[in-house]
Symmetry: C2
Subunit: 414 residues, 2 copies
């Protein structure tokens, strides 16, 4: 089954909004064996929307749209759908009831726009929206599945998970597709590729993709077979040839991020962590608490920007600051030891550096960051010189910190 995902909205094509919806839908469809081979976005323009849907239906088995189903006047998707499927809009009692109930609960008066949201294309299967008022609109005609959903991410995700995915899975796909991930950290894409080449590995009946990010390079094998067994066999054969060549850089063979992996290790051990941040400014605490259930391992975070705060909050010595400067191995170590002591956590992370764009000197340029991980038995501080902008330097620092914590947790050599 081949699919296209179409996202609709002026805010997307003009770049005001980053399109996270398309990524989510693709992921979920791929996970049930649907092959998403195309994505596209159009503005709030009836002709463009209609043409995209028609083109999609001509070329793909599954056509998914999000956006353009809200209560305001820039929403014209429903009318485009009616033209494509030759139907008209009709008030749907169940949707109207859901809208009325929701507004009663909210204690807000219904507007004409809200009531208009009960108008739905006649003949469509409506997928319920547990978090909002616009249901998913599904047509299943001539072996093709079409589905339109609202663009609010949480609502769209709920409709995908509770309505669309079960529907498409039931319908069944033809070919089986298998994926295998190898998540690496600390090695650039080009060196990984050179290592595989040197080891004599060539993809054999699979597609090998390199997916670089600031949290490492993910390698992903993709195999297609007439059934699951064939696809699995292909993937396994390639994995067994490839994995030994880069084993030392692979932190996980599941599709999990470095953050997910490290927080899983913390929960499994179990162990606790505290964070003292300067240049990362709360980013590491934010990441560690992004994960549900983080109170099991996260004790406390301190964001100490000013020197005075480093002394007062973390016990960094005045002399150390004067002698070595705030961005130094010595201050990083005192920050880590300070928070390890005061928090009582098993592990502590500390960062101090120059995220830029200003504040650099010839001796301590923008991108210089000291990253430390401490436990009772000792502390490691790494000096890193990152390139990139403020955001990138902070994200890279946070990921190096997570990887250092991973090494401590697994007792591997850093």
């Amino acid at each position: 089954m081949r699919a296209i995902v179409i996202t609709i909205g002026d805010e997307i094509i003009s770049g005001l909004t980053v399109d996270t919806n398309a990524a989510y839908i693709s992921q979920r469809l791929v996970s049930i064996g649907v092959d998403v081979t195309r994505r596209c976005s159009v503005g709030d323009n009836a002709d463009d929307i209609e043409r995209e849907i028609r083109d999609g239906l001509a070329q793909f088995d599954v056509v998914i749209t999000t956006g353009g189903l809200g209560p305001t006047d820039d929403d014209i998707t429903k009318r485009s759908i009616c033209r494509v499927f030759g139907c008209s809009l009709k008030e749907d009692t169940q949707t109207l009831e859901a809208i009325t109930t929701r507004y009663r609960q909210l204690g807000v008066a219904m507007t004409e726009g809200n009531r208009g949201m009960a108008m739905q294309p006649d003949g469509a299967v409506l997928l319920s929206n547990p978090l909002g008022t616009a249901p998913g609109i599904l047509f299943d005609l001539d072996g093709k599945i079409f589905c339109a959903m609202a663009g609010v991410p949480a609502e769209m995700r709920a409709i995908v998970d509770t309505g669309l995915v079960p529907y498409v899975e039931k319908k069944g796909s033809g070919r089986s597709i298998k994926y295998q991930s190898l998540c690496t950290f600390g090695i650039p894409e080009s060196i990984l590729a050179a290592k595989l080449k040197k080891g004599g590995y060539v993809p054999d009946g699979v597609r090998l993709a390199y997916l670089p990010s600031y949290a490492g390079v993910m390698l992903r094998l993709r195999a297609e077979g007439k059934d699951e067994a064939e696809a699995s066999q292909l993937v396994d054969r390639n994995f067994n040839a490839l994995y030994p060549l880069i084993r030392e850089y692979v932190y996980s063979t599941e599709q999990e991020s470095l953050l997910e992996h490290v927080t899983r290790l913390l929960r499994e051990k179990p162990a606790t962590v505290a964070v003292a941040e300067s240049c990362t400014g709360g980013l590491i605490a934010k990441m560690l608490t992004d994960v549900p259930g983080s109170s099991a391992y996260f004790v406390q975070g301190m964001v100490a920007y000013a020197n005075e705060a480093k002394t007062r909050l973390l016990g960094v010595k005045r002399e150390t600051l004067d002698e070595h400067g705030a961005v130094s191995q010595e201050v990083c170590a005192e920050m880590g030891e300070g928070i390890l002591d005061s928090s009582g956590a098993d592990y502590a992370i500390a960062t101090t550096g120059i995220a830029g764009p200003t504040g650099g000197t010839p001796e301590k340029p923008v991108g210089l960051v000291y990253i430390g991980v401490a436990e009772k038995t000792g502390m490691t501080v790494e000096r890193r010189q990152f390139s990139g902008d403020r955001d990138i330097i902070r994200v890279r620092s946070a990921n190096v910190a997570l990887n250092m914590l991973r090494h401590r947790l697994t007792k591997a050599q850093p």
Copy 2:
């Protein structure tokens, strides 16, 4: 000038990567008057890439691609470009020199793959890449501009800003396009639309878009004219009719986020801020320090998850915790007062709540958050019940906190 942005990569269409590149390119092109009317993504498949580029050149004046120019074997874009423009690859001395220099500086041996990156389509204008080794590849033929760039965000942004945008601007656009933003907070899209309708406002020769996010709804007027004066006149006429109807919800008429606006107010005043976070887990500190120059206003942040940490770090009384629970107006107030006192900042933000997905009770359900903003003259605590997942609840809490701080900074009534 009409443009299409094409992003290339299996990681994009499979949803492993969120496509932030397309948003950036669109924004920059729109800012110089280019009308981006279509976006699309394809996988690392030579036929798909070639077809997308050909289709784009047939329908648009400007065709931009990113991705598929890296050093590894999944990169096939360059060969597709050669087929479209009927040229061959040729080693470019300048690119080879840049690559050699970069690897010498890094102290890393060059691989065959790295050297291959010096091969460039013959006849292309090469746009230099100050942050990496793959230059932008530009063709300017028959009144159409084509440009292909690497997919690494920082490199792509550098090529766009230093090469592509100046090139396109010089080339000049025909019609003038003007935008005017009205950034609102604290009012849903549907109520905004109802207010405009009630006030008798109807878009007059412009397009009005509603761009909702968890940091508020941005309204954007878009006018097109034969010259700048005509486009400006259209935008102004509509702005003057619309603005008075929703003035109380508008925090800015520039295109700036709530975060950018509030940190600008802090710098201008000037004033300092400290943050004590429980459920937002460092997110507010992270946001406040996302902005370059944040050391001017950001004093310190505390992430106190456990009750014990709230007492030890922020001076929250044991009795208050016992009597009212950690998620309460009283604890939020003591957190805010605690950090205001100990930090010496002019303003303090405090949050405590249940971000979920677990930890809720009938009395204190998931999504209940207390948000406080304190200054020496007093403190405001708001009780909010948010819907959505963990991420959404945290982001909404952070934005309400920023808006409360904005009210204090501008002395408007909250």
